[in-house]
Amino acid sequence: MPELDSIASLEARREEVAFTLARYRTVVTMCGGTACQACGCQPVARAMTREVMAQGLEETVYVRTTGCHGFCEQGPLVIIDPGGIVYVHVTPEDVPEIVAQTIRKGKVIERLSYTDPVSDKTVQAEDEIPFYTRQKRLLLGENRHIAPRDIDDYIARGGYSALAKALDSMTPEAVVEEIERSGLQGRGGGGYPTGKKWRQCRNASGDARYVICNADEGDPGDYMDRSLLEGNPHSIIEGMIIGAFAVGARHGYIYVRKEYPLAVVNAGVAIRQAQALRLLGEDILGTGFDFDIQVVRGGGAFVCGESTALMASLEGKVGEPRPKDIHTVERGYLGQPTVLNNVETWANVPSIIRHGADWFASQGTERSKGTKIFALTGQVKNTGLIEVEMGTTLREIIYDIGGGPKNGREIKAVQTGGPSGGCLPTSQFDLPVDFDALYEAGSMMGSGGMVVMDDSSCMVDVAKYFLAFLQDESCGKCTPCRLGVGRLLEIVTDISEGRGSLDQLDLLEDLSWTISVASLCALGKTAPNPVLSTLKYFRDEYLDHIENKRCAAGVCRALIRLVIDSTLCDRCGKCIANCPHKAITGSRDTSYAIDDELCTRCRICADACEQHAILVR
């Protein structure tokens, strides 16, 4: 590839790419994110390429495998343009028909179309799917147009034009001002103003400056950063180059979880492509600006999402946070001024520079600007990655985009913000998505996890789940987090096992307060949130466990028993065969019984029973 040694050469290449793409009459887009790969998109993609070749259509049909579109549950997805005809749950066997009918004749194959679970209607075009229409997909929407390992796809979408603009016509100071004016806030959880962070770094004294992309997305239930880095790595790279130009950095790092192998590879490929075109390295676009990026694989520690722990890890040390009385913008990686932003924050930077701060600031609420990506999961009809304008209410997200509860159950809570966030009840569902509003309600935006829970979830169990997670993931260095979270878990476990007392609720609150004020890092300071928010909004569930020794959701194992309803049981033997603990006895001639001593209440038998004869008491 010829190097791009000037801004004009970038524009020339853009025209060239557009010309090449315009040759194709039809574009077939296949989602190839981690989730789609898990449901078998690769065989479909191979079959599609083979079939297009076999039919001699390779001159006019372009087959593109992209990153995640967000609608993972419906994968593998195939979209055919023009027209945006979308097919869901496609198998390799469907491919010849798709090519023969839809690509050749423009006919829609109804059986492959999406059926909206709310209206029960078939939807043919992608932009008519309710899951998408209620969103504002500024970042995620791009994934669909880009093969992540093809830099030309990104360039065709206007990629690197923001970089060209910054290098060509803006001073570093003007870039910082633009980001400040846009009101962009850190998408990793804290919501710290990005422009302010950049300015502090720019003003700090040091021998060198660094920019880092935090892709150590560790919150259980989150995967927006993974999808962006997998699907559109160049947008993050472009954001980082602009950031480096603004603060005066020469080196940047993308610290990415090892558990995200596809993101590691795609980021690495994208960096090499950008280097080959001289969009990274020395004398970028012939402007004299030098900057390069390396990908670093994280070792698998949730705490490394904390900025000082991440930097310790980058320095080859154990990921223990250090006190942040002096911020990392002044003393970060190797003791030098460092800007650390998460993936989604970096991905927002190019469009702000390209379209201007006013464009960005015109979206969202008074206090939170732009859009936010969430991983909508749990007990709703439509799950997947969604992007909404700040200010959208939780209710709109859960009922309009998510399609409401599944299986005729009733939604009772949404957990936002991961282990640092909290559980909000339905009475809070009119809250807008806004950093301050969520914080004031006792939860937080976090990096964007949104797990919907219905009446089959027990909130005491949810608190216990997060505490167990945090106890494991705490680095263990400071007393309040290591011992305090452990004691919270001990108390909540007591309650979930019927040994709780009312005094313990006061102790939970007192200890939670201590952990939140006295812990060394943000992991500890926010660790009590799941307990505090469930205590605040679901106190009656705690009381039920303590006073009545009852878990209404039937989740807490010590408080439930499994029994076999002999009137429903047809003695098929499936429960006996499936019970891992050999707790069920009986034969075809006698009635079945569950031995309470051996039974662990795992309910594997209940899942196996087709007669629904195993009841939770």
């Binding site: 981690t34 449901c39 995967y223 070792g299 698998g300 999961t377 997947g384 997670f469």
Partner: protein
């Protein structure tokens, strides 16, 4: 133990501050664990105290100080998987293989681990076996998968034995 691969990894390491992390990742991949010998050698070559290398190997989940099994079973314990039945999957796997999370079966065949989130939440609950994702898992499906793996292993062993016998006969 053959340490030549370790020396190669050390020879090709970069000069960055995080080189030690990269070395440990590569050693883990090459040997399926990080041995005492490897830790001592890394300490010598990178001029980092043994305790620091030992601490790194203990701190990060990516590293294992005992050999992992031939098959790695990862049960996702993320929030979405948790509320959709991951604990039951884990129970099933552990009971079937008679092992504990993070440990390897006595025959060295399976290591069972949990991971906090694989980012495939829309497919919850998810189990990964030898790098392949299995979505919407149930205890029954997991049991069938494990039985398949055991069966294939036995077939492979039989073939090996047949080969040995054939060679002996020849």
């Amino acid at each position: 133990m053959d340490l030549s691969r370790l020396e190669e990894i050390l020879d090709s390491k970069g000069s960055e501050t995080f080189a030690i992390m990269e070395v440990l990742q590569d050693v883990q991949e090459a040997y399926r664990y990080i041995s005492e010998e490897a830790i001592v050698r890394i300490s010598e070559r990178l001029d980092v105290p043994v305790i620091e290398v030992f601490r790194l190997a203990n701190f990060y989940k990516a590293f294992s100080l005992t050999p992992r099994g031939r098959h790695l079973i990862t049960v996702c314990a993320g929030t979405a998987c948790h509320v959709q039945g991951a604990p039951r999957l884990l129970d099933t796997v552990l009971a079937l293989l008679n092992t504990k999370p993070g440990e390897t079966t006595a025959d060295g065949a399976f290591t069972v681990e949990t991971v906090n989130c694989l980012g495939a939440c829309a497919l919850a609950p998810v189990v990964v076996i030898d790098g392949k994702y299995y979505d919407h898992m149930t205890p029954g499906k997991v049991r069938a998968l494990l039985e398949d793996i055991r069966f294939e292993d036995e077939l492979a062993e039989d073939e090996d034995e047949e080969e040995v016998e054939a060679e002996a006969n020849a």
